[in-house]
């Protein structure tokens, strides 16, 4: 078991101390119902913050937010933080790096969106409007940690360091996954919803069995929380006490279906307590708050070997994909409202007010984003001819006799086509 570095319970702790002595019923198990070691971990953690396990596991009274919609820093008393829900503002260099990620992320989204419209890209699920979540997810992790993204998390994957051109292989239609997940500790972007959350739990479990320090970030959207694997993943993670941060980007819609048709829970973060883990809600368009909450969640997961659930409220500004028509299910007024809460503009205002962003820095950051966009355009002008015979290569470590036969058949067809034998 991982040693906890949280301070031991202290009798001096005042807040909620009465409740702390009577936790959850986990301390007095019925015969045959012992276990609940994770409950004691939660108990330990909550004690260290001087609050009850329930207060620790339930999200704070309001979602965590540091910046107002204009990007001005709001007073600490209005940030939603409190005992056990403390979120210090990250250091200047981290903030600046995040802004850099936001600018690049927005550029990547818009460039790819344009490439789809030009017919040069098969499909691109854009995260325009969700870039704060995208960037925060990548910057919250250490190099030894793993990320399990979905198909909409291109910007996260690129911010994590995966070569943009390798990421685009799948959207260009060349192969299903263009990068080696082991090279970056980023799994193949998952299309079947929430299935990857269980993979994340397994990676964390294997690391724990070997005594390695690995936190895993498991990403999904609001609609995906309706899937059975969401439940199974959170439950397994809590039961096995593995350091997984479940990061839900609640962008309001699962294609066309609004959150109100997915869940009747007070919030998605409230689901955490049902599994015996802590949940938190954050303003997903507030880069500072997203960074602060994700960094702390990763820290707590690492220190206590426990899972956590973080729900970021955000908005998908563009349609689900190029094949979708979002005017059929939401009105432009709603979209306009969210435009005013744009994460990029808010962060720019905040950093400018803070004196961290001058014109030269802004120029350097834009130039870097432009470079990525240019490389994406360049990649789309070349039409790489995949080798059709590779189709048989990776199905098994060693192709079966049947696959050898089928490979020969296709090779023969290709040869005849080249010779013009096939009209």
């Amino acid at each position: 078991m991982t040693e906890s570095t949280t301070p031991p319970p202290s009798p001096e702790i005042q807040a909620g101390s009465e409740d702390v002595t009577v936790p959850m019923g986990a301390s007095t198990p019925e015969p045959g119902h012992q276990k609940a070691e994770q409950a004691s971990r939660i108990l330990e953690a909550s004690r260290s913050f001087g609050i009850t396990p329930e207060q620790y596991m339930l999200p704070a009274q309001q979602q965590i937010r540091m910046l107002d919609p204009e990007g001005n820093l709001i007073s600490e008393s209005e940030q939603g933080t409190g005992p056990g829900h403390e979120y210090p503002i990250p250091e200047d260099d981290v903030l600046l790096k995040a802004y850099e990620g936001l600018v690049a992320g927005r550029r990547i989204n818009d460039q790819n969106y344009a490439l789809v419209r030009q017919g040069r890209l098969a499909v691109y699920p854009s995260s325009h409007g969700q870039e704060a979540c995208q960037v925060g997810a990548a910057l919250g992790l250490g190099t030894q940690d793993w990320m399990f993204p979905t198909y909409r998390d291109t910007v996260s994957v690129i911010t994590r360091g995966v070569d943009p051109l390798e990421v685009m292989v799948s959207f260009r239609g060349d192969w299903h996954c263009g990068y080696n997940p082991h090279d970056y500790k980023v799994s193949a972007m998952s299309t079947p919803l929430t299935t990857q959350l269980l993979h994340a739990v397994g990676v964390a479990h294997a690391a724990k069995l070997r005594g390695e320090d690995t936190v895993v970030l498991a990403m999904c959207g609001d609609g995906a929380t309706s899937e059975g694997d969401f439940h199974e993943a959170l439950n397994f993670a809590a039961v096995f006490e593995v350091p997984v941060v479940f990061f839900v980007q609640n962008n309001g819609y699962a294609i066309s279906v609004p959150l109100s048709s997915q869940s009747a829970a007070p919030s998605l973060a409230h689901k955490a307590i049902g599994y015996g883990m802590a949940g938190e809600q954050v303003d997903g368009n507030d880069m500072v708050a997203v960074l602060a909450t994700l960094r702390r969640a990763v820290h707590l997961a690492r220190e206590n070997s426990t899972p956590l659930l973080l729900e970021a409220t955000t908005y998908r500004m563009q349609a689900h994909t190029n094949a979708d028509d979002d005017t059929r299910y939401r009105d432009s007024e709603e979209v306009e409202q969210w435009k005013r809460k744009d994460p990029l503009k808010r962060m720019r205002t905040f950093l400018t007010n803070k004196g961290l962003l001058d014109e030269a820095t802004e120029e350097r950051i834009s130039a870097k984003a432009e470079e990525i966009a240019a490389s994406l355009r360049q990649a789309m002008t070349t039409e790489p001819k995949g080798d059709p015979l590779e189709l048989f290569e990776h199905v098994y470590a060693e192709p079966t006799a049947q696959l050898h036969e089928q490979r020969d058949q296709l090779a023969d067809e290709l040869t005849r086509a080249e010779e013009g034998g096939h009209a």
């Binding site: 080696n180 993979h199 294997a206």
Partner: protein, 345 residues
Amino acid sequence: MSATTATKSTTTSFASALNTAMSDAMENDPSVVVFGEDVGTLGGVFRITDGLTKRFGENRCFDTPLAESGIAGTAVGMAINGMRPVIEMQFDAFAYPSLEQIFSHIAKMANRTRGNVRLPIVIRIPYGGGVGGVEHHCDSSEAYYAHTPGLKVFTPATVADAYLMLREAIDSEDPVVFFEPKKLYWSKEAEDLSELRAEYESGTSSRRIGAEANAQIVREGTDVSIISYGPSVSTALKAAEATAEDGISAEVLDLRSIVPFDDAALQATVEKTGRAVVVAEAQGFASVASEITARIQERCFHSLSSPVLRVTGFDIPYPAPKLEEHHLPDVDRILDTLDELQWED
């Protein structure tokens, strides 16, 4: 069954062969972990994992929450992160909640990532009927998995194969769905586990499945080939014995591995005898038996003296225990089918 078994003084059960295969693999390789429902303290509802937790500790063999997709899905992550999970599905039909994980990820991950992420997972599934099991406990579900590219599908019919094939499955870089005929769990044969261990660990076993599949002739004959696998092999052998009394010499082929598939062995036996009957418990429509029949027709057409016939379960949901005898292929139904092979010419 084979000539070599006669010399063995020790008898071994199918269940203990499986159990020893797992413990030997765990002993040799610390990345092998066993998990599933009730596999820890209880040792599994069939006791196949009996003693593994006690011997290797709770980090190596452990119970999971009761959720099959969770078992299969976390196995994916474990395998991504360097482990070799051997997971147990408690019964054939209880594996269905895990099918999305198996079909969409376990089967496809290596291909999706161009071989960069291989998932050496073994999914053990007790399957088939003949044990008086109630609904959802007796399905022959092999066709679903065999139809899914990227999975290997093994099913042993002998005690020796229970050991050798499970060892090979655990060592495979590809995911293997390992079908254990539950009616064989308590069967015993004259086999010595230490000899089987030596055979496997020598690396030169002639019984390796490998990439070519390596189906085995378990009874030689000249007049007709009975092709079978898993729980039906023993029924096929009994039918072959019975038909010998009528002067018909039946050869019995035990496929052992459905994926990969041994076309060469299939072709050799059918070309030799000129007649073929395929026997399998599963319902026949769109089944593994259909596939075998099609392959015989494609490859051996000019050697055939009669149509290829199948003896399978009926196309019905698995019957209640008191009616299952009418559903399962038995010796009489195989003999009836053999009679239909246009012997008069």
